[in-house]
Amino acid sequence: MSYLPILPEIVLTAAILFLTLVVVFYQGENRNGVMMTGTIFGLSVTLLTLAFVPPFAGYLFSGMLTLDGMAFFFRWLFPAVGLFVAFMAREFLEVKKAENPGEFYVILLLAILGMMLMASSGDLITIYLGLELTSISSYILAGYLREDPKSGEAAIKYFLMGALASGVLLFGMSLFYGLTGATNLVSISGILHQVGAPPLVLAAMVFLIIGLGFKVAAVPFHMWAPDAYEGAPTPVTAFFSVGPKAAAFAAIIRVFTDGLSSLVWEWSLAFAVLALITMTLGNLTALWQKNVKRMLAYSSIAHAGYIMVGLAAGTWQGTVAMLLYLLAYVFTNLGIFAVVTALGNREGKDELTDFTGLSQRSPYLAAALVVFFLSLIGIPFTAGFFGKFLLFGAAVQSGLVWLALVMAVNSAISVGYYYTVVRNMYLVAPKNKGALPVAGELKLVVTVALLVTLILGLFFEPVLGRLVAFTLPG
Protein backbone atom coordinates (compact mmCIF):
# COMPACT_ATOMS: atom_id res chain seq x y z
CA MET A 1 0.00 0.00 0.00
CA SER A 2 2.12 2.90 -1.29
CA TYR A 3 1.65 6.23 0.42
CA LEU A 4 2.38 8.18 -2.76
CA PRO A 5 -1.25 9.32 -3.33
CA ILE A 6 -1.34 11.05 0.07
CA LEU A 7 2.18 12.51 -0.21
CA PRO A 8 0.90 16.13 -0.14
CA GLU A 9 -0.82 15.53 3.22
CA ILE A 10 2.29 13.91 4.61
CA VAL A 11 4.47 16.80 3.43
CA LEU A 12 2.08 19.24 5.04
CA THR A 13 2.14 17.36 8.36
CA ALA A 14 5.93 17.37 8.24
CA ALA A 15 5.90 21.09 7.65
CA ILE A 16 3.52 21.56 10.60
CA LEU A 17 5.70 19.59 12.97
CA PHE A 18 8.84 21.34 11.76
CA LEU A 19 7.27 24.77 12.20
CA THR A 20 6.14 23.86 15.72
CA LEU A 21 9.75 23.22 16.60
CA VAL A 22 10.79 26.48 14.94
CA VAL A 23 8.24 28.38 17.02
CA VAL A 24 9.58 26.92 20.22
CA PHE A 25 13.29 27.23 19.54
CA TYR A 26 13.70 30.27 17.27
CA GLN A 27 14.26 33.22 19.59
CA GLY A 28 15.14 35.78 16.93
CA GLU A 29 13.19 39.00 16.92
CA ASN A 30 11.37 38.73 13.53
CA ARG A 31 9.44 35.58 14.54
CA ASN A 32 6.42 36.68 12.54
CA GLY A 33 8.31 37.07 9.24
CA VAL A 34 10.23 33.83 9.64
CA MET A 35 7.10 31.84 10.43
CA MET A 36 5.29 33.30 7.44
CA THR A 37 8.07 32.37 5.04
CA GLY A 38 8.15 28.90 6.59
CA THR A 39 4.43 28.51 6.05
CA ILE A 40 4.65 29.79 2.51
CA PHE A 41 7.44 27.34 1.81
CA GLY A 42 5.54 24.43 3.36
CA LEU A 43 2.36 25.15 1.40
CA SER A 44 4.24 25.64 -1.85
CA VAL A 45 5.99 22.29 -1.48
CA THR A 46 2.60 20.67 -0.77
CA LEU A 47 1.21 22.19 -3.96
CA LEU A 48 4.28 21.00 -5.89
CA THR A 49 4.00 17.43 -4.68
CA LEU A 50 0.36 17.55 -5.78
CA ALA A 51 1.65 17.87 -9.33
CA PHE A 52 3.42 14.51 -9.09
CA VAL A 53 0.55 12.71 -7.47
CA PRO A 54 -1.86 10.78 -9.75
CA PRO A 55 -5.17 12.61 -9.36
CA PHE A 56 -7.35 9.51 -9.71
CA ALA A 57 -6.09 7.23 -6.97
CA GLY A 58 -9.60 5.95 -6.16
CA TYR A 59 -10.35 4.34 -2.81
CA LEU A 60 -7.40 4.12 -0.48
CA PHE A 61 -6.68 2.93 2.98
CA SER A 62 -9.63 0.57 2.92
CA GLY A 63 -12.11 3.23 1.95
CA MET A 64 -10.91 5.91 4.34
CA LEU A 65 -9.94 8.22 1.50
CA THR A 66 -11.45 8.63 -1.99
CA LEU A 67 -9.03 10.62 -4.11
CA ASP A 68 -11.17 11.46 -7.13
CA GLY A 69 -11.38 14.58 -9.31
CA MET A 70 -13.26 16.59 -6.71
CA ALA A 71 -10.75 15.67 -4.01
CA PHE A 72 -7.95 16.81 -6.33
CA PHE A 73 -9.76 20.10 -6.99
CA PHE A 74 -10.05 20.83 -3.27
CA ARG A 75 -6.59 19.49 -2.38
CA TRP A 76 -4.95 22.22 -4.44
CA LEU A 77 -7.56 24.88 -3.61
CA PHE A 78 -7.10 24.74 0.19
CA PRO A 79 -3.27 25.12 0.27
CA ALA A 80 -3.75 28.03 -2.14
CA VAL A 81 -6.24 29.55 0.29
CA GLY A 82 -3.70 28.91 3.04
CA LEU A 83 -1.07 30.89 1.07
CA PHE A 84 -3.41 33.83 0.67
CA VAL A 85 -4.36 33.88 4.37
CA ALA A 86 -0.74 33.51 5.46
CA PHE A 87 0.22 36.53 3.32
CA MET A 88 -2.60 38.53 4.85
CA ALA A 89 -1.80 37.56 8.41
CA ARG A 90 1.78 38.78 8.83
CA GLU A 91 1.20 42.53 8.80
CA PHE A 92 -2.04 42.13 10.73
CA LEU A 93 -0.39 40.24 13.56
CA GLU A 94 2.39 42.83 13.76
CA VAL A 95 -0.01 45.77 13.79
CA LYS A 96 -2.22 44.13 16.43
CA LYS A 97 0.92 43.13 18.43
CA ALA A 98 -0.46 39.57 19.01
CA GLU A 99 1.50 37.88 21.81
CA ASN A 100 2.55 34.70 20.05
CA PRO A 101 2.38 35.26 16.28
CA GLY A 102 4.25 32.00 15.51
CA GLU A 103 1.58 29.55 16.58
CA PHE A 104 -0.98 31.29 14.36
CA TYR A 105 0.60 29.78 11.27
CA VAL A 106 0.87 26.26 12.79
CA ILE A 107 -2.81 26.24 13.68
CA LEU A 108 -3.68 27.62 10.26
CA LEU A 109 -1.77 24.79 8.54
CA LEU A 110 -3.50 22.25 10.76
CA ALA A 111 -6.82 23.67 9.78
CA ILE A 112 -5.91 23.39 6.10
CA LEU A 113 -4.84 19.79 6.59
CA GLY A 114 -8.17 19.09 8.21
CA MET A 115 -10.00 20.65 5.26
CA MET A 116 -8.03 18.60 2.74
CA LEU A 117 -8.98 15.45 4.63
CA MET A 118 -12.63 16.41 4.77
CA ALA A 119 -12.66 16.86 0.99
CA SER A 120 -11.00 13.56 0.21
CA SER A 121 -12.56 11.30 2.84
CA GLY A 122 -14.59 8.29 1.94
CA ASP A 123 -15.68 7.41 5.47
CA LEU A 124 -17.88 9.09 8.05
CA ILE A 125 -15.09 8.84 10.63
CA THR A 126 -12.51 10.68 8.50
CA ILE A 127 -15.07 13.32 7.65
CA TYR A 128 -15.84 13.80 11.32
CA LEU A 129 -12.18 13.95 12.31
CA GLY A 130 -11.26 16.27 9.47
CA LEU A 131 -14.21 18.47 10.39
CA GLU A 132 -13.23 18.55 14.04
CA LEU A 133 -9.58 19.29 13.26
CA THR A 134 -10.66 22.26 11.15
CA SER A 135 -13.28 23.40 13.65
CA ILE A 136 -11.04 23.28 16.69
CA SER A 137 -8.30 25.19 14.89
CA SER A 138 -10.95 27.70 13.81
CA TYR A 139 -12.13 28.19 17.41
CA ILE A 140 -8.54 28.95 18.44
CA LEU A 141 -7.92 31.27 15.49
CA ALA A 142 -11.18 33.09 16.21
CA GLY A 143 -10.06 33.85 19.72
CA TYR A 144 -6.42 34.50 18.81
CA LEU A 145 -6.30 38.17 19.92
CA ARG A 146 -6.65 37.57 23.63
CA GLU A 147 -6.77 41.27 24.51
CA ASP A 148 -9.55 42.09 22.04
CA PRO A 149 -12.89 41.36 23.83
CA LYS A 150 -14.61 40.95 20.47
CA SER A 151 -12.20 38.13 19.54
CA GLY A 152 -12.91 36.30 22.78
CA GLU A 153 -16.64 36.68 22.33
CA ALA A 154 -16.44 35.44 18.76
CA ALA A 155 -14.47 32.40 19.90
CA ILE A 156 -16.80 31.42 22.69
CA LYS A 157 -19.90 31.75 20.53
CA TYR A 158 -18.28 29.87 17.66
CA PHE A 159 -17.04 27.15 20.06
CA LEU A 160 -20.29 26.52 21.88
CA MET A 161 -22.40 26.47 18.75
CA GLY A 162 -19.76 24.42 16.90
CA ALA A 163 -19.62 21.82 19.61
CA LEU A 164 -23.40 21.49 19.73
CA ALA A 165 -23.59 21.22 15.97
CA SER A 166 -20.92 18.51 15.82
CA GLY A 167 -22.93 16.73 18.54
CA VAL A 168 -25.95 16.79 16.19
CA LEU A 169 -23.77 15.66 13.27
CA LEU A 170 -22.36 12.79 15.34
CA PHE A 171 -25.82 11.70 16.36
CA GLY A 172 -26.80 11.53 12.73
CA MET A 173 -23.67 9.59 11.84
CA SER A 174 -24.31 7.12 14.67
CA LEU A 175 -27.85 6.59 13.39
CA PHE A 176 -26.53 5.88 9.90
CA TYR A 177 -24.01 3.48 11.42
CA GLY A 178 -26.86 1.79 13.22
CA LEU A 179 -29.07 1.60 10.12
CA THR A 180 -26.43 0.34 7.73
CA GLY A 181 -23.78 -1.20 9.96
CA ALA A 182 -21.10 0.63 7.99
CA THR A 183 -19.30 3.90 8.21
CA ASN A 184 -17.88 3.78 4.68
CA LEU A 185 -19.90 6.03 2.35
CA VAL A 186 -19.92 3.71 -0.62
CA SER A 187 -21.11 0.72 1.44
CA ILE A 188 -23.69 2.94 3.16
CA SER A 189 -25.10 4.01 -0.20
CA GLY A 190 -25.13 0.36 -1.36
CA ILE A 191 -27.19 -0.73 1.65
CA LEU A 192 -29.44 2.32 1.50
CA HIS A 193 -30.42 1.49 -2.06
CA GLN A 194 -31.93 -1.76 -0.75
CA VAL A 195 -33.36 -0.21 2.44
CA GLY A 196 -35.10 2.63 0.66
CA ALA A 197 -36.25 5.63 2.74
CA PRO A 198 -37.84 4.56 6.04
CA PRO A 199 -38.63 7.41 8.49
CA LEU A 200 -35.49 6.88 10.62
CA VAL A 201 -33.18 7.18 7.60
CA LEU A 202 -34.81 10.45 6.73
CA ALA A 203 -34.40 11.58 10.35
CA ALA A 204 -30.73 10.65 10.28
CA MET A 205 -30.40 12.60 7.04
CA VAL A 206 -31.91 15.66 8.72
CA PHE A 207 -29.32 15.43 11.50
CA LEU A 208 -26.56 15.31 8.88
CA ILE A 209 -28.01 18.20 6.88
CA ILE A 210 -28.27 20.36 10.00
CA GLY A 211 -24.86 19.34 11.37
CA LEU A 212 -23.13 20.22 8.06
CA GLY A 213 -25.56 23.05 7.36
CA PHE A 214 -24.34 24.75 10.52
CA LYS A 215 -20.74 24.65 9.26
CA VAL A 216 -21.81 26.26 5.98
CA ALA A 217 -23.83 28.89 7.96
CA ALA A 218 -27.08 28.02 6.25
CA VAL A 219 -30.03 29.92 7.69
CA PRO A 220 -31.50 29.22 10.40
CA PHE A 221 -28.21 27.77 11.74
CA HIS A 222 -26.24 30.80 10.63
CA MET A 223 -26.55 32.89 13.76
CA TRP A 224 -23.01 32.29 14.89
CA ALA A 225 -21.46 33.44 11.64
CA PRO A 226 -22.02 37.24 11.75
CA ASP A 227 -20.71 37.49 15.33
CA ALA A 228 -17.78 35.15 14.66
CA TYR A 229 -16.87 36.98 11.41
CA GLU A 230 -17.09 40.43 13.01
CA GLY A 231 -15.25 39.47 16.16
CA ALA A 232 -12.47 37.34 14.73
CA PRO A 233 -9.24 38.96 13.42
CA THR A 234 -9.73 40.01 9.77
CA PRO A 235 -7.39 37.42 8.16
CA VAL A 236 -9.18 34.73 10.20
CA THR A 237 -12.54 36.07 9.05
CA ALA A 238 -11.21 35.86 5.51
CA PHE A 239 -10.22 32.27 6.24
CA PHE A 240 -13.62 31.46 7.77
CA SER A 241 -15.59 32.85 4.84
CA VAL A 242 -13.53 30.80 2.40
CA GLY A 243 -11.79 27.82 4.05
CA PRO A 244 -14.10 25.89 6.40
CA LYS A 245 -17.14 26.92 4.35
CA ALA A 246 -15.72 25.38 1.16
CA ALA A 247 -14.55 22.31 3.07
CA ALA A 248 -18.02 21.90 4.56
CA PHE A 249 -19.51 22.05 1.07
CA ALA A 250 -16.93 19.44 -0.01
CA ALA A 251 -18.04 17.25 2.88
CA ILE A 252 -21.72 17.78 1.98
CA ILE A 253 -21.04 16.77 -1.64
CA ARG A 254 -19.02 13.78 -0.41
CA VAL A 255 -21.70 12.63 2.03
CA PHE A 256 -24.78 13.30 -0.04
CA THR A 257 -23.67 12.40 -3.54
CA ASP A 258 -21.48 9.43 -2.58
CA GLY A 259 -23.31 8.31 0.53
CA LEU A 260 -26.99 9.16 0.26
CA SER A 261 -27.40 9.06 -3.49
CA SER A 262 -30.57 6.97 -3.08
CA LEU A 263 -32.29 9.81 -1.17
CA VAL A 264 -31.46 12.38 -3.84
CA TRP A 265 -35.08 13.60 -4.18
CA GLU A 266 -35.43 14.28 -0.46
CA TRP A 267 -32.20 16.04 0.20
CA SER A 268 -32.25 18.08 -3.00
CA LEU A 269 -35.65 19.40 -1.95
CA ALA A 270 -34.34 20.13 1.57
CA PHE A 271 -31.37 22.03 0.17
CA ALA A 272 -33.64 23.90 -2.24
CA VAL A 273 -35.66 25.22 0.70
CA LEU A 274 -32.51 25.97 2.68
CA ALA A 275 -31.00 27.74 -0.33
CA LEU A 276 -34.05 29.92 -0.74
CA ILE A 277 -34.13 31.04 2.91
CA THR A 278 -30.38 31.40 3.19
CA MET A 279 -29.79 33.65 0.18
CA THR A 280 -32.84 35.79 0.76
CA LEU A 281 -32.25 36.37 4.47
CA GLY A 282 -28.51 36.78 3.93
CA ASN A 283 -29.05 39.53 1.34
CA LEU A 284 -31.85 41.26 3.19
CA THR A 285 -29.96 41.55 6.47
CA ALA A 286 -26.75 42.59 4.74
CA LEU A 287 -28.53 45.75 3.54
CA TRP A 288 -28.54 47.06 7.07
CA GLN A 289 -25.01 46.46 8.19
CA LYS A 290 -22.72 49.30 9.20
CA ASN A 291 -19.67 47.14 9.83
CA VAL A 292 -17.96 45.86 6.68
CA LYS A 293 -16.94 42.49 8.16
CA ARG A 294 -20.47 41.83 9.42
CA MET A 295 -21.83 42.86 6.00
CA LEU A 296 -19.40 40.46 4.32
CA ALA A 297 -20.54 37.77 6.77
CA TYR A 298 -24.12 38.14 5.57
CA SER A 299 -22.92 38.34 1.99
CA SER A 300 -21.03 35.09 2.58
CA ILE A 301 -24.20 33.53 3.98
CA ALA A 302 -26.09 34.68 0.89
CA HIS A 303 -23.43 33.13 -1.34
CA ALA A 304 -23.72 29.87 0.65
CA GLY A 305 -27.37 30.07 -0.35
CA TYR A 306 -26.45 30.47 -4.03
CA ILE A 307 -24.04 27.48 -3.83
CA MET A 308 -26.77 25.35 -2.26
CA VAL A 309 -28.78 25.89 -5.43
CA GLY A 310 -26.23 23.53 -7.06
CA LEU A 311 -27.11 20.94 -4.44
CA ALA A 312 -30.80 21.57 -4.94
CA ALA A 313 -30.31 20.64 -8.61
CA GLY A 314 -29.12 17.23 -7.45
CA THR A 315 -27.32 16.52 -10.72
CA TRP A 316 -23.61 16.30 -11.56
CA GLN A 317 -24.04 19.57 -13.51
CA GLY A 318 -25.15 21.04 -10.20
CA THR A 319 -21.98 19.75 -8.53
CA VAL A 320 -19.75 21.16 -11.29
CA ALA A 321 -21.57 24.48 -11.02
CA MET A 322 -21.01 24.46 -7.26
CA LEU A 323 -17.30 23.73 -7.60
CA LEU A 324 -16.82 26.47 -10.14
CA TYR A 325 -18.85 28.98 -8.16
CA LEU A 326 -16.76 28.08 -5.10
CA LEU A 327 -13.58 28.69 -7.09
CA ALA A 328 -14.79 32.12 -8.20
CA TYR A 329 -16.22 32.95 -4.76
CA VAL A 330 -13.05 31.90 -2.90
CA PHE A 331 -10.64 34.09 -4.82
CA THR A 332 -13.01 37.09 -5.03
CA ASN A 333 -13.65 36.97 -1.28
CA LEU A 334 -9.96 36.66 -0.48
CA GLY A 335 -9.35 39.73 -2.59
CA ILE A 336 -12.04 41.68 -0.76
CA PHE A 337 -10.71 40.69 2.64
CA ALA A 338 -7.18 41.61 1.61
CA VAL A 339 -8.44 45.14 0.91
CA VAL A 340 -10.41 45.20 4.19
CA THR A 341 -7.29 44.03 6.06
CA ALA A 342 -5.16 46.68 4.38
CA LEU A 343 -7.65 49.36 5.41
CA GLY A 344 -8.15 47.78 8.86
CA ASN A 345 -4.40 47.79 9.54
CA ARG A 346 -4.37 51.58 9.06
CA GLU A 347 -7.78 52.67 10.39
CA GLY A 348 -8.10 50.23 13.23
CA LYS A 349 -11.77 49.56 12.79
CA ASP A 350 -13.85 48.30 9.87
CA GLU A 351 -16.85 50.60 9.76
CA LEU A 352 -18.32 51.47 6.34
CA THR A 353 -17.43 55.11 6.95
CA ASP A 354 -13.75 54.21 6.90
CA PHE A 355 -14.11 53.44 3.20
CA THR A 356 -14.92 57.08 2.29
CA GLY A 357 -12.76 58.51 -0.47
CA LEU A 358 -10.77 55.31 -0.79
CA SER A 359 -10.68 55.90 -4.55
CA GLN A 360 -8.51 58.95 -3.93
CA ARG A 361 -6.42 57.44 -1.17
CA SER A 362 -5.50 54.26 -3.04
CA PRO A 363 -7.15 54.02 -6.47
CA TYR A 364 -5.79 50.54 -7.12
CA LEU A 365 -7.48 48.97 -4.08
CA ALA A 366 -10.71 50.83 -4.78
CA ALA A 367 -10.79 49.67 -8.41
CA ALA A 368 -9.98 46.09 -7.35
CA LEU A 369 -12.78 46.19 -4.79
CA VAL A 370 -15.23 47.37 -7.46
CA VAL A 371 -14.24 44.43 -9.69
CA PHE A 372 -14.61 42.01 -6.80
CA PHE A 373 -18.07 43.37 -5.95
CA LEU A 374 -19.05 43.10 -9.61
CA SER A 375 -17.93 39.46 -9.50
CA LEU A 376 -20.01 38.82 -6.36
CA ILE A 377 -23.07 40.44 -7.98
CA GLY A 378 -22.44 38.43 -11.12
CA ILE A 379 -21.79 41.16 -13.66
CA PRO A 380 -20.27 39.70 -16.88
CA PHE A 381 -16.49 39.69 -17.56
CA THR A 382 -16.00 38.42 -14.02
CA ALA A 383 -15.74 34.91 -12.62
CA GLY A 384 -18.85 35.36 -10.49
CA PHE A 385 -21.00 35.81 -13.61
CA PHE A 386 -20.14 32.41 -15.07
CA GLY A 387 -20.41 30.76 -11.65
CA LYS A 388 -23.92 32.09 -11.23
CA PHE A 389 -24.69 31.44 -14.86
CA LEU A 390 -23.87 27.72 -14.46
CA LEU A 391 -25.86 27.48 -11.23
CA PHE A 392 -28.75 29.22 -13.00
CA GLY A 393 -28.51 26.72 -15.85
CA ALA A 394 -28.28 23.68 -13.55
CA ALA A 395 -31.33 24.86 -11.57
CA VAL A 396 -33.38 25.51 -14.70
CA GLN A 397 -32.42 22.13 -16.17
CA SER A 398 -33.62 20.40 -13.00
CA GLY A 399 -36.88 22.25 -13.29
CA LEU A 400 -36.22 24.63 -10.39
CA VAL A 401 -37.01 27.71 -12.46
CA TRP A 402 -38.52 29.42 -9.40
CA LEU A 403 -35.24 28.98 -7.50
CA ALA A 404 -33.29 30.38 -10.47
CA LEU A 405 -35.50 33.45 -10.53
CA VAL A 406 -35.10 33.93 -6.79
CA MET A 407 -31.34 33.82 -7.33
CA ALA A 408 -31.59 36.49 -10.03
CA VAL A 409 -33.69 38.74 -7.81
CA ASN A 410 -31.31 38.20 -4.91
CA SER A 411 -28.37 39.23 -7.06
CA ALA A 412 -30.25 42.46 -7.80
CA ILE A 413 -30.85 43.02 -4.06
CA SER A 414 -27.18 42.36 -3.34
CA VAL A 415 -26.35 45.42 -5.50
CA GLY A 416 -27.90 47.42 -2.66
CA TYR A 417 -25.24 46.82 -0.02
CA TYR A 418 -22.23 46.53 -2.33
CA TYR A 419 -23.32 49.87 -3.82
CA THR A 420 -23.11 51.64 -0.45
CA VAL A 421 -19.43 50.71 -0.19
CA VAL A 422 -18.73 51.78 -3.77
CA ARG A 423 -20.63 55.00 -3.15
CA ASN A 424 -18.54 55.76 -0.08
CA MET A 425 -15.34 55.00 -1.94
CA TYR A 426 -15.99 57.06 -5.04
CA LEU A 427 -18.62 59.65 -4.42
CA VAL A 428 -17.80 60.74 -0.87
CA ALA A 429 -14.78 62.85 0.05
CA PRO A 430 -12.24 60.95 2.17
CA LYS A 431 -12.67 61.42 5.95
CA ASN A 432 -8.97 61.34 6.69
CA LYS A 433 -6.68 62.54 3.93
CA GLY A 434 -3.38 61.03 2.92
CA ALA A 435 -2.60 58.08 0.65
CA LEU A 436 -3.13 54.64 2.22
CA PRO A 437 0.17 52.79 2.58
CA VAL A 438 -0.42 49.15 1.66
CA ALA A 439 1.92 46.29 2.63
CA GLY A 440 3.56 44.49 -0.27
CA GLU A 441 2.01 41.08 0.39
CA LEU A 442 -1.50 42.52 0.59
CA LYS A 443 -1.03 44.15 -2.80
CA LEU A 444 0.22 40.79 -4.11
CA VAL A 445 -2.86 39.01 -2.75
CA VAL A 446 -5.20 41.62 -4.26
CA THR A 447 -3.46 41.43 -7.63
CA VAL A 448 -3.53 37.63 -7.80
CA ALA A 449 -7.19 37.55 -6.71
CA LEU A 450 -7.98 40.23 -9.32
CA LEU A 451 -6.21 38.26 -12.05
CA VAL A 452 -8.02 35.04 -11.19
CA THR A 453 -11.43 36.78 -11.09
CA LEU A 454 -10.86 38.42 -14.49
CA ILE A 455 -9.13 35.48 -16.20
CA LEU A 456 -11.87 33.13 -15.00
CA GLY A 457 -14.35 35.65 -16.28
CA LEU A 458 -12.78 35.77 -19.72
CA PHE A 459 -11.09 32.43 -20.44
CA PHE A 460 -13.58 30.22 -18.75
CA GLU A 461 -13.30 27.26 -21.03
CA PRO A 462 -10.10 25.49 -19.87
CA VAL A 463 -11.16 25.55 -16.22
CA LEU A 464 -14.65 24.32 -16.98
CA GLY A 465 -13.34 21.60 -19.30
CA ARG A 466 -10.87 20.17 -16.79
CA LEU A 467 -13.41 20.42 -13.97
CA VAL A 468 -16.05 18.57 -15.95
CA ALA A 469 -13.51 15.86 -16.80
CA PHE A 470 -12.63 15.41 -13.13
CA THR A 471 -15.97 15.26 -11.54
CA LEU A 472 -17.72 13.11 -14.08
CA PRO A 473 -19.63 10.49 -12.04
CA GLY A 474 -18.04 7.09 -11.64
Binding site: L129, E132, Y139, P149, I156, A163, S166, S174, Y177, G231
Partner: protein
Protein backbone atom coordinates in the same frame (compact mmCIF):
# COMPACT_ATOMS: atom_id res chain seq x y z
CA UNK B 1 -29.01 -9.75 26.95
CA UNK B 2 -30.17 -6.18 27.05
CA UNK B 3 -32.40 -5.39 24.06
CA UNK B 4 -30.97 -2.68 21.76
CA UNK B 5 -34.05 -0.53 22.18
CA UNK B 6 -33.36 -0.06 25.90
CA UNK B 7 -29.83 1.14 25.19
CA UNK B 8 -31.14 3.55 22.62
CA UNK B 9 -33.75 4.85 25.03
CA UNK B 10 -31.04 5.60 27.61
CA UNK B 11 -28.77 7.26 25.05
CA UNK B 12 -31.61 9.35 23.67
CA UNK B 13 -32.62 10.50 27.16
CA UNK B 14 -28.98 11.33 27.94
CA UNK B 15 -28.82 13.22 24.63
CA UNK B 16 -31.99 15.12 25.47
CA UNK B 17 -30.66 15.95 28.95
CA UNK B 18 -27.46 17.23 27.35
CA UNK B 19 -29.42 19.44 24.98
CA UNK B 20 -31.66 20.70 27.83
CA UNK B 21 -28.55 21.52 29.86
CA UNK B 22 -26.91 23.37 26.98
CA UNK B 23 -29.98 25.49 26.30
CA UNK B 24 -30.72 26.16 29.94
CA UNK B 25 -27.52 27.14 31.66
CA UNK B 26 -25.88 30.50 31.56
CA UNK B 27 -22.58 29.31 32.93
CA UNK B 28 -20.25 28.40 30.04
CA UNK B 29 -18.69 25.55 31.96
CA UNK B 30 -22.07 23.99 32.63
CA UNK B 31 -22.77 24.20 28.89
CA UNK B 32 -19.47 22.45 28.30
CA UNK B 33 -20.53 19.70 30.64
CA UNK B 34 -23.80 19.33 28.76
CA UNK B 35 -21.85 19.02 25.54
CA UNK B 36 -19.79 16.25 27.07
CA UNK B 37 -23.02 14.50 28.02
CA UNK B 38 -24.26 14.77 24.44
CA UNK B 39 -21.04 13.20 23.18
CA UNK B 40 -21.38 10.46 25.75
CA UNK B 41 -24.87 9.74 24.54
CA UNK B 42 -23.54 9.40 21.01
CA UNK B 43 -20.84 7.06 22.27
CA UNK B 44 -23.48 4.98 23.94
CA UNK B 45 -25.35 4.89 20.67
CA UNK B 46 -22.26 3.81 18.79
CA UNK B 47 -21.33 1.11 21.25
CA UNK B 48 -24.89 -0.14 21.35
CA UNK B 49 -25.06 -0.41 17.57
CA UNK B 50 -21.57 -1.97 17.61
CA UNK B 51 -22.76 -4.64 19.96
CA UNK B 52 -25.98 -5.55 18.14
CA UNK B 53 -25.52 -4.58 14.46
CA UNK B 54 -21.85 -5.46 13.87
CA UNK B 55 -20.88 -7.65 16.83
CA UNK B 56 -17.93 -9.22 15.05
CA UNK B 57 -16.48 -5.85 14.02
CA UNK B 58 -15.06 -3.24 16.46
CA UNK B 59 -16.09 -0.44 14.07
CA UNK B 60 -18.50 1.15 16.47
CA UNK B 61 -16.11 1.16 19.37
CA UNK B 62 -13.30 2.59 17.30
CA UNK B 63 -15.58 5.40 16.24
CA UNK B 64 -16.43 5.89 19.94
CA UNK B 65 -12.74 6.07 20.80
CA UNK B 66 -12.19 8.75 18.22
CA UNK B 67 -15.19 10.64 19.53
CA UNK B 68 -13.67 10.51 22.96
CA UNK B 69 -10.34 11.88 21.82
CA UNK B 70 -12.04 14.69 19.99
CA UNK B 71 -14.24 15.35 23.04
CA UNK B 72 -11.13 15.65 25.17
CA UNK B 73 -9.48 18.04 22.70
CA UNK B 74 -12.66 20.06 22.43
CA UNK B 75 -13.00 20.31 26.21
CA UNK B 76 -9.41 21.52 26.50
CA UNK B 77 -9.83 24.24 23.91
CA UNK B 78 -13.28 25.10 25.21
CA UNK B 79 -12.00 25.65 28.70
CA UNK B 80 -9.11 27.73 27.40
CA UNK B 81 -11.55 30.02 25.63
CA UNK B 82 -13.81 30.14 28.65
CA UNK B 83 -10.86 31.28 30.76
CA UNK B 84 -10.13 34.03 28.24
CA UNK B 85 -13.75 35.15 28.60
CA UNK B 86 -13.66 34.77 32.38
CA UNK B 87 -10.69 37.15 32.60
CA UNK B 88 -12.71 39.75 30.71
CA UNK B 89 -16.21 39.25 32.24
CA UNK B 90 -15.37 37.71 35.63
CA UNK B 91 -17.52 34.61 35.92
CA UNK B 92 -18.10 32.61 32.79
CA UNK B 93 -21.58 34.12 32.53
CA UNK B 94 -22.58 33.83 28.96
CA UNK B 95 -25.52 36.23 29.16
CA UNK B 96 -23.22 39.18 29.79
CA UNK B 97 -21.42 38.46 26.53
CA UNK B 98 -23.57 40.50 24.11
CA UNK B 99 -21.29 42.98 22.37
CA UNK B 100 -21.61 41.49 18.89
CA UNK B 101 -25.18 41.66 17.58
CA UNK B 102 -27.46 43.11 14.89
Amino acid sequence: MIPLFYVLVVSTLLFALGVYGALLSTNAIRILMSIEMILNAVNLNLVGFGRYITPSDPRGQIFAIFVMTVAAAEAAVGLAIILVIARRYGAAAIDRVRMLKG
